[in-house]
């Protein structure tokens, strides 16, 4: 269809000249250059922010692209982190972290598959589905606290293997924090690129259609429940990857990471950045984490209260998040300039 510029191939090619794609490439470039001018502590802060950005991205795929708001995403993050802490140290090989990561992804995927199957194929949607996901976080946190022989209970678990690989006699263990930073940056960038690439084509249109009018999509022949279940499972596995990476870098996992407060924070990152924009939630995670540091430096008790008030303010002032707001700025400036010229 000439003139629309909306066809699949053209959509992806056009994206290469899109200012937001260029912004994303620019941000990745800055993140890649960051270790060359910063100290170890600042690098660890940005590294953790990148992990949480990956977690925000996983929720944006589920909430922004498929329309499922989940309060249970911290549970999948926690499954990834605990799997790394439980399975990783048991493996006496450079592949230990890889095994821990795959175990986390497998367990999170299986849990999401079972829960998601009964919920999604059972026809649970919208607010009802969100309420059930609240229970996922609560149950997961109770298991993390109560099953103390395995999870360490309230104290959590200490220790995680460094990332590495051992194959055909070749062995490499990544001990350097800078290398670990680059690994996390690469995983986040690849996840962003993969989800963006998938959602910029026909598949993205189908997900948008399901989110817009599921009954219509079903009458057109789409197995919408299967589509939603796949997104739910993939999103949970991606959250588990973030959890595994968190344990690798911090060397510590505790029930706080798996609870309702953490789940709410992930939602805030996505909502602040701009739901469905993919890069927005990544920016949102960085912005909110930076705010958290500033507020907690005054008093760490202030943070839960602050984030609640901040979220309410964001919903009222910028309901679509920061990125859509940034998108509007050039148009607002252009229209103001035009009006000023007319006035002259």
């Amino acid at each position: 269809m000439d003139g629309t510029g909306l066809s699949l191939g053209r959509g992806r090619n056009a994206a290469l000249s899109n200012p937001w794609v260029l912004l994303t490439v620019g941000l990745v470039g800055i993140a890649a250059a960051y270790p060359s001018w910063t100290d170890a502590y600042s690098l660890s802060v940005i590294r953790d922010a990148l992990i949480f950005a990956l977690l925000a991205l996983s929720l944006d795929y589920l909430w922004g692209k498929a329309g499922i708001l989940s309060f249970g995403h911290a549970a999948f993050f926690g499954i990834g982190a605990y799997s790394m802490a439980i399975f990783g140290p048991k493996i006496d090989s450079a592949n230990a972290a890889l095994v821990g990561l795959l175990a986390g992804m497998g367990i999170a995927g299986a849990v999401a598959l079972v829960i998601g199957y009964f919920l999604i194929f059972g026809g649970v949607r919208g607010a009802y589905l969100t309420i059930v996901t609240l229970a996922i976080s609560l149950v997961a946190q109770h298991i993390a606290i109560g099953w103390s022989q395995v999870t360490g209970g309230d104290s959590g678990l200490i220790g995680a293997p460094p990332p590495g690989i051992e194959i055909f006699g070749f062995s490499y263990v990544m001990l350097d924090p800078v290398h670990q930073y680059y690994l996390i940056l690469a995983v986040t960038a690849i996840a962003l690129l993969a989800i963006w690439f998938a959602c910029s084509g026909h598949y993205g249109r189908v997900l948008a259609a399901i989110q817009d009018n599921e009954l219509r999509a079903r009458t057109l022949g789409y197995n919408t429940s299967l589509h939603l279940l796949i997104v739910f499972v993939v999103s949970a596995m991606l959250a588990a990857v973030a959890g595994g990476l968190y344990d690798i870098t911090s060397g510590y996992v505790a029930p706080d990471l798996i609870g309702l407060f953490m789940s709410t924070e992930i939602i805030v990152w996505v909502a602040v950045g701009g739901r469905g924009t993919l890069i927005g939630p990544i920016i949102g995670a960085f912005v909110v984490i930076r705010l958290q540091q500033e507020v907690s430096s005054v008093s760490y008790k202030l943070w839960p209260m602050f984030i609640g008030a901040f979220f309410v303010a964001m919903v009222f002032l910028f309901p679509n998040g920061l990125l859509p707001l940034l998108r509007r700025i050039p148009r607002i400036v252009a229209s103001r300039l035009q009006r000023a010229r007319k006035a002259e």
Partner: protein, 237 residues
């Protein structure tokens, strides 16, 4: 093309204590256009929902090309060749007109094939200039057209149209008659309509429903003269 495409027998549907459809049977021949008329609450849309798979009858059978449709998941109806237009326009409102048609197109074929197929449909619908417009922003009549276009994208064997001209101008209604009449032979079409001029213009076999039952069936010219139909629907003259 001849022979029955769909056979529905003794369909019953109840919502709580209210009987919506009671003992309705319907045979649709290949290539025929059939109108279903009746006053509000007659059970027309419920019958459509059962034929299109969005509601499961409490009893009765529906066969499509000798395949039993009862219990078949809704998303499989499209693959069999059954497409529908809802009573209230059911579009992907946040998506562009172009994207609505792309999503309605069955998977397969390259982007060039997609552009030709979608472009052709936009031209048929007279929506070429609105391809990039969000579906929600279209006037009501054009929304109806877009939804008909979406149903046609899969080149169905059976097209179910629930009040396709509701909210349309007289000119748009004439164009809809031309479009549907032009599809005669290519597919079987069932239309629910309240606009008697539209039904008269189509000059097709007509089934009349009242209180969940079929009370008359035959050529529209006969239906117009049927005293029972006049009593319950057209108004005694």
């Amino acid at each position: 093309m001849t022979g029955a495409l769909m056979q529905a027998e003794d369909l019953h549907m109840r919502f709580g204590g209210v009987t919506a459809v009671s003992g309705v049977s319907l045979t649709l021949e290949r290539g025929e256009i059939r109108c279903i008329i009746g006053p509000n609450g007659a059970g027309k849309s419920t019958l459509f929902n059962m034929l299109a798979g969005t509601q499961r009858p409490i009893s009765g059978s529906i066969r499509f090309e000798d395949r039993d449709l009862i219990g078949l998941p809704l998303h499989k109806f499209a693959a069999l060749g059954i497409a529908r237009k809802f009573q209230v326009p059911s579009l992907f409102s946040t998506m562009s007109v172009y994207d609505n048609l792309v999503v309605a197109r069955p998977a397969g074929g390259g982007s060039e094939d997609e552009a030709i197929h979608v472009g052709g449909m936009l031209e048929t619908l007279g929506l070429t200039g609105d391809a990039g417009v969000a579906a929600a922003e279209l006037p009501h009549g054009q929304k109806q057209w877009l939804e008909i276009g979406m149903a046609l994208m899969s080149r169905p064997k059976l097209l179910l149209l629930d009040e396709p001209t509701a909210g349309m101008t007289s000119d748009e209604t004439h164009r809809t008659v031309d479009l549907i009449a032009g599809l005669r032979e290519a597919m079987t079409i069932v239309v629910i309509e309240h606009d008697m001029n539209f039904v008269r213009a189509l000059a097709c076999p007509t089934t009349v429903m009242h209180q969940g039952r079929v009370i008359a069936s035959g050529p529209f010219s006969d239906i117009e003269r049927d005293h029972t139909v006049r009593d319950v629907y057209l108004g005694r003259q």
